[in-house]
């Protein structure tokens, strides 16, 4: 370095104000907590319920056709669209344009949408039926 630059120091036109949160915790007057070194992150339900955020949608259940697997009216279902709908999965599908939740099954090459409630009939999937899989239900959120 042959040239030393001069730095002209001027007072800032907007003095910085340090914001101090009102409740910043207890004042540490004594010994530091022995647990300080063991502090880890808190538990986040998203981590448990949502594997693929971009493909995960929440929908609300109506009716009692799936009571047998613990889906009650007004429950929130966690739906992952990226999971493949294989036989045995609880799926959301658009049946003749209407969204419905049922169990997808296959017995002897026959695909069916089964309710988990004996009062509801099974739906046999045939060619004329307008049925599109919408996603796979991974969890039920049920308020008690």
């Amino acid at each position: 370095m042959t040239l030393t630059a001069f730095t002209l120091l001027l007072p800032t036109p907007h003095p910085c104000v340090l914001a101090i949160p009102l409740f910043s915790g207890k004042v540490a007057a004594g010994f530091p907590s022995p647990a300080d070194d063991y502090v880890e992150k808190t538990l986040d339900l998203n981590e448990l319920l949502v594997q693929k955020p971009a493909a995960t949608f929440f929908v609300r259940a109506q009716g009692e056709s799936m009571l047998g697997v613990g889906i009650h009216p007004n429950d929130i279902l966690v739906v992952d669209r990226s999971i493949e709908a294989v036989p045995g999965k609880i799926v959301i599908c658009a049946l003749n344009g209407e969204l419905t939740v049922k169990r997808l099954t296959r017995d002897n090459e026959q695909w069916q949408l089964k309710a988990e409630n004996p009062n509801y009939p099974d739906i046999v999937i045939h060619e004329e039926l307008d049925m599109v899989i919408w996603g796979v239900v991974t969890n039920v959120i049920h308020a008690l």
Binding site: P13, F57, E98
Partner: protein, 425 residues
């Protein structure tokens, strides 16, 4: 290694977003309307097939709407923004670098990612996105952004492509260029198209075979670069980081015509708040503000009036109160009683980073003694509003906001509000 750029573009994006939650509308004519339910901004294939053009005012097609039972939606930007971020984050997994180009399209750099079978890779992208999000997309590929964009246009237009097309192959490229009009090339606007036609340049091929030097002389550097890009020579790089906006505009049509100063000022003040919020979000300050007001251009019976005014701010600011005070002054200058105003807007320019110290102009003892800016106060307001939307506003923006635009056909906020979840039986 041969460069390979892909442009992934969502099909009829707003309509597709609505259909994800309304599967009963698949295969039926659906259109989404602009702010204030004025014009058509997104059309399903069925609506396009009826000959309804983009941007057409609703009142001009009322008969077709009734006759074909077209389902109309007001724009639900909350839903579209959420669905867009789902599409974009799904795409991220497919390429080491990506440029989100707009709400419904992104460029992906696939160089070295899929040199074997680009079509199969494009197909995988399509299938993954539609399965994860429900949004159908088309994938266009080529050695440059301009060619990727052209490939995407062709993939959308010709369904036998299966929604995926790669223009790396020279023979296929020429074949396509010969049948596509030059107006479809990325960046070639209507005025340039007109001038090109006068020179006998009609197809994309006509343009691609021009000398870029000659084109630069007759047009400009951008058109010349486009010629090179059409020949596979990359001139436009992927822009991964979105640059801060150099201009912020907030404008809207009103739900009803406004005649009084008070109502109009409320709307202007609200747009100042929104614009200032955007400004602070990108950590910038503005040195210049314009506002405009106008009557409806569609109603030729009424007296027409349209004015704008600009103020240069002595000190660059990001304070809502400064902007509202300045806007009040501007509005007083251009407001005339006796007109039915339909739209107003606020535009901020001379935007730069807030970390650059304000330039005080020694010789500008101007008349604008505006409230001094208070950054901590504004930061606090933003913080509170992020947690409790619209909790704090400047009183000048009004409480009733009767001027808010119409959105009578808006769909629920399926993905962002617990009260609005879609129901399944």
């Amino acid at each position: 290694m041969q460069t390979l750029i892909a442009l992934v573009d969502c099909n009829n994006f707003y309509v597709s977003c609505e259909r994800v939650f309304r599967p009963d509308l698949i295969g039926k004519p659906v259109a989404v309307l602009s702010n204030n339910d004025g014009c058509v901004v997104s059309r399903s294939k069925e609506v396009k097939d009826l000959g309804i053009k983009m941007g057409v005012p609703v009142f001009q097609i009322q008969q077709l709407i009734n006759q074909h039972q077209i389902t109309l939606f007001s724009s639900n930007y909350t839903l579209y923004a959420d669905m867009s971020s789902r599409v974009m984050s799904t795409l991220e997994a497919f390429a080491p670098s990506m440029e989100v180009y707009s709400i419904d399209e992104a460029f992906l750099d696939l160089t070295g990612v899929c040199h074997q079978d680009s079509i199969a890779y494009g197909d995988l992208i399509r299938k993954t996105v539609v399965r994860a999000t429900g949004i159908p997309v088309c994938v266009g590929m080529g050695p440059t952004k301009t060619l990727a964009k052209l490939a995407n246009f062709a993939a959308k237009k010709w369904c036998k492509t299966g929604g995926v097309l790669d223009l790396s192959d020279l023979v296929r490229r020429e074949k396509l260029m010969r049948i596509v009009p030059v107006s479809e090339v990325w960046g070639i606007g209507s005025r340039t198209t007109l001038k090109l036609k006068q020179l006998g340049i009609h197809s994309v091929w006509d343009l691609a075979t021009q000398s870029s030097q000659r084109i630069q002389k007759q047009f400009n550097i951008v058109v010349a670069k486009t010629v090179l890009e059409l020949n596979g020579i990359s001139c436009f790089q992927l822009e991964e980081i979105s640059a801060n906006k150099q201009q912020i505009v907030c404008s809207r049509s009103f739900g009803r015509r406004l005649t009084g100063y008070k109502d109009l000022f409320e709307a202007v003040a609200e747009f100042c708040s929104r614009a200032a919020e955007k400004l602070r979000k990108q950590h910038s300050v503005t040195g210049c503000m314009s506002i405009f007001i106008r009557t409806s251009p569609f109603n030729s019976q009424e007296p027409q009036y349209q004015r704008s005014a600009t103020i240069k701010l002595n000190t660059a600011t990001q304070d809502t109160r400064t902007l509202i005070t300045a806007a009040n002054r501007l509005l007083k200058e251009i407001f005339r009683a006796g007109y039915s105003y339909q739209k107003c807007g606020v535009q901020l320019s001379q935007i730069h980073s807030e970390s650059i110290p304000s330039q005080f102009d020694l010789f500008d003892f101007a008349d604008n003694d505006l409230p001094t800016e208070n950054r901590p106060l504004m930061a606090t307001v933003d913080q509170i509003n992020r947690r409790f939307p619209k909790a704090i506003s400047i009183a000048a923006t009004g409480f009733e906001q009767s001027w808010q635009p119409k959105s009578e056909r808006i769909s629920p906020r399926y993905t962002t509000d617990w009260q609005d979840l879609v129901c399944v039986k």
